[in-house]
């Protein structure tokens, strides 16, 4: 069955082509029968019935960026963990499990240190807590 070896990726190509076909086909079919009466109001962005103010492509909050940064570290880490995890069982069977376990532990402990650091810095908090001492105290009125 050596000739079939390259064919193992064929269904993926077929499925992607089918996805494009389903999407394109249903949109094309719709374009033949659906109504097409565009007008200016219909084609404005929805803002609860008001005239849209400005563009939506404005600055956004920096905390999304921080989340993305932390994500990249962990994603690269998990991508690197996959091969080690895949061979762990075989190494364990031939008696080299301890070596691999130590390397996994070292690798993960660096990451744990990273996440603890982020946690301490407050980067994992969505709403940054303010320094309590600098908070203006509001006098209670009776």
């Amino acid at each position: 069955m050596s000739t079939l070896n390259l064919d193992v990726y064929m269904p993926i190509v077929i499925l992607i082509a089918l996805a494009l076909l389903v999407a394109g086909g249903s949109l094309f079919l719709g374009s033949l029968i659906r109504p097409q009466h565009p007008n200016k109001l219909k084609e404005t962005a929805y803002e609860c019935g008001e005239e849209p103010v400005g563009s939506a492509w404005a600055n956004f909050n920096v905390r999304f960026y921080v989340v993305a940064l932390i994500f990249i570290i962990f994603d690269v880490e998990s991508a690197l963990m996959f091969p080690v995890a895949a061979v762990f069982k075989k190494f364990n069977e031939i008696g080299l499990g301890g070596t691999l376990l130590m390397s996994i532990l070292t690798f993960v402990s660096v990451l744990v240190a990273g996440i603890v650091y982020c946690w301490k810095k407050g980067d994992l908090d969505w709403v940054k807590s303010f320094n309590q001492t600098n908070q203006p105290t509001i006098a209670k009125k009776d």
């Binding site: 000739t3 079939l4 064919d7 193992v8 990726y9 064929m10 269904p11 993926i12 077929i14 499925l15 992607i16 089918l18 996805a19 494009l20 389903v22 999407a23 249903s26 949109l27 079919l29 719709g30 374009s31 659906r34 097409q36 200016k40 962005a45 929805y46 803002e47 849209p52 563009s55 939506a56 492509w57 956004f60 999304f64 989340v67 932390i70 994500f71 962990f74 994603d75 998990s78 963990m81 996959f82 995890a85 895949a86 762990f88 069982k89 075989k90 364990n92 069977e93 499990g97 376990l101 996994i104 532990l105 993960v108 990451l111 744990v112 996440i115 946690w119 994992l124 908090d125 969505w126």
Partner: protein
């Protein structure tokens, strides 16, 4: 390679005959051509089945939510309203297609297609049964994780390209949520890869047995926790309630697909419902024994020995039993997903991030280390095997 549909069929004589016949007629080795035809037919079957499951998913969602809220739900179109999804589909095709003037037209059209491509591509490695699996890639689960994240790109592009504030907020939330929850989900998957010792779906399932005590979820306490971490993260990755913040209708109108009409919205919805099926299927394959049937009925060996059936026929019966096993477990999980949606209230966005980074990720890391240490300490034996072993040696004294 042995578990793709083609190699399953190549066991039969007819396959060899047809291949030889075509080779003679066409004058070149036709095995690739035959493989292509079989793949195409089975891809069509799977896509058809998945579109139906996606459609029935919307119906099931409405019917189950009605059941949970003591309503009747859709009951007009067809018996018990079961054809409601076809009516919805026709309606979506007939709806006017509106693209707002400020939108980025190309990416606006690209986003739903990207979602659909990402989900369809993952269908290739979902293990329906030992013979009925389109591609048994040696990097199976890794490929699935990678392809599934295309959906996140589609969600963000959809929100961004619409140039509407609601869409933008939904898209930003969607992107940050999907990438965040990918971490605990992937770490839980790695823990199971550690136990199985391979990345292909077949290896992952072959390490398990048909009966629950042989499933990876009951392999050790860490894997048990890992299942719930994976399931919660999968809910968040597919934007299902209680994590449906990207499309939170009570605060963001409709989130990232606010500006989408008609079939483009339909493609998003279809992709979402199929993705729910895929992540349930992965949870079943990794933790709940996959397609395995108790007493090794799936291979058909017992049927040949006890009932004296023909080998190929027994194998085919075994395949159907395996399909039944996989789909039963997956659809039960699907029910749980819908059940959760109509039971739990939506999280706030800061609670969402707290849950992911301060609870699930540390727990998943502990599970990962726990599984590795368990494998090393107990030489890969499951907790039940250890208990039986201990009980056996205690009885021997």
């Amino acid at each position: 390679m042995n578990s793709t549909v083609v190699s399953y069929f190549s066991q039969s004589n007819e396959f060899q005959n047809v291949t030889n016949w075509l080779t003679q007629i066409l004058g070149f080795n036709a095995s690739s051509l035959v493989a292509f035809i079989i793949f195409a037919v089975f891809s069509l079957i799977i896509v058809g089945a998945m579109a139906t499951i996606g459609g029935l998913g919307t119906y099931a969602e409405r019917k189950i939510s009605a059941d949970l809220q003591a309503r009747i739900g859709p009951n007009r179109v067809g018996p018990f309203g079961i054809l409601q999804f076809l009516a919805d589909g026709v309606k979506m095709i007939l709806k006017e297609d509106i693209v707002t003037t400020n939108a980025d037209r190309f990416t606006f059209n690209l986003a739903p297609v990207l979602c659909l491509v990402g989900v369809f591509a993952t269908l290739a490695v979902v293990p329906y049964s030992s013979g009925f699996m389109l591609a048994d890639l040696n990097v199976g689960i890794f490929y699935l994780v990678g392809m599934a994240s295309l959906v996140g790109v589609g969600v963000f592009l959809g929100g961004y390209a619409s140039n509407s504030k609601w869409s933008m907020l939904g898209g930003m939330r969607g992107a940050s949520q999907i990438i965040s929850y990918e971490i605990p989900a992937t770490l839980s998957i790695i823990a199971i890869v550690l136990l199985a010792g391979g990345l292909s779906m077949k290896t992952l399932i072959d390490g398990q047995g048909g009966a629950p005590q042989d499933w990876y979820i009951f392999h050790n306490p860490f894997a048990f926790m890992g299942f719930f971490v994976y399931f919660i993260s999968a809910l968040a990755e597919t934007n299902r309630a209680p994590f449906d913040l990207p499309e939170a209708e009570s605060e963001l109108v409709s989130g990232y697909h606010t500006e989408y009409t008609g079939m483009k919205f339909g493609l998003f919805a279809l992709a979402e419902y199929i993705e729910v099926f895929v992540v349930c299927g992965v949870a079943v394959a990794l933790f709940l024994g996959g397609y395995k049937v108790p007493f090794d009925l799936g291979s058909g060996q017992i049927l040949v020995e006890k009932l004296g059936l023909d080998g190929m026929l027994a194998q085919n019966i075994g395949q159907f039993l395996e399909l039944g096993s996989f789909f039963t477990k997956t659809l039960l999980l699907y029910y749980v997903v819908i059940w959760v949606r109509w039971t739990l209230p939506r999280l706030r966005v800061d609670q969402l991030m707290t849950l992911c980074w301060k609870y699930l990720t540390p727990i998943a890391l502990v599970n990962l280390i726990g599984c590795a240490v368990w494998m090393y300490a107990f030489n890969g034996k499951s907790i039940f095997a250890l208990i039986f072993h201990a009980a056996g040696s205690a009885g021997g004294h």
